[in-house]
């Protein structure tokens, strides 16, 4: 049972554009929602995280939007740069149930 569904699987964005990745979860007991960034050959690294008692969290160019009633959350990357090209994973809960990943390519 896939408890976290992530979309799209791949995304191509022009430099300077906005990248948006979406996740939907099923288990209402989840209380922590991180996003991880993974470069080829490396392990995932925590990018930004949110708790369900807030609707938005912003860190630099990265923003998480959280909709508790819809059981959805999304990652927005503003002013996307070629260096942001990586695979992004959403996750939920203490055990880190992961979404399937989104491969982002930012074209110069």
């Amino acid at each position: 049972q896939q408890q976290v569904k992530q979309s799209p699987q791949s995304l191509i964005v022009q430099k300077g554009g906005i990248s948006i990745i979406n996740c939907a979860y099923e288990n209402t007991a989840f209380d922590y929602f991180p996003w991880y960034q993974q470069f080829p050959g490396k392990g995932p690294a925590l990018l930004i995280a949110i708790r369900p008692d807030v609707s938005e969290k912003k860190e630099g160019r990265f923003t998480i939007s959280f909709n508790k009633s819809a059981k959805q959350f999304s990652l927005h990357i503003m002013d996307s740069q070629p260096g942001d090209s990586a695979t992004y994973f959403c996750a939920a809960g203490n055990m880190l149930t992961f979404g399937g990943g989104t491969r982002l390519m930012v074209k110069p």
Binding site: Q6, Y32, P34, Y36, G41, K42, G43, P44, A45, L46, A49, F89, N94, M95, L96, T97, F98, G99, G100, G101
Partner: protein, 112 residues
């Protein structure tokens, strides 16, 4: 400070052989996780340790897979009688609070 380290970084083995993968978590981190990532795929949860105990082994794909953790620190993931479908990157992660989880670089396993 040192992050999570894993060894070996790469392992090539023959079908039917046993392999051991090692994880050294960040010092003081009580929680330790193992995940598997197949080529171009997402992260599959395998097992979780809190201290030396494994309260959640639900992700282990078969009885060929086992893991242990000693001294609340180093963990070993053992795969017996490896199969070609075991080929993947095995990632270890550790956490102090069960929230901020830090991943190691992974062990790339290839079963021929």
């Amino acid at each position: 400070g040192a992050g999570v380290s894993q060894s070996p970084s790469n392992k090539v083995t023959e079908k039917g052989k046993d392999v051991e993968l090692r994880c050294d978590p960040i010092s003081g981190h009580t929680a330790l996780y193992w995940y598997r990532q197949s080529l171009g795929q997402g992260l599959e949860f395998l097992i979780y340790f809190q201290g030396n105990s494994a309260p959640d082994k639900s992700g282990l794909p078969s009885d060929r897979f086992s893991a242990e953790r000693t001294g609340g620190s180093v963990s070993t993931l053992t795969i017996q009688r490896t199969q070609q479908e075991d080929s993947a990157v095995y990632l270890c992660a550790s956490s102090l609070d069960g929230r901020r989880v830090f991943f190691g670089p992974g062990t790339r396993l290839l079963v021929l």
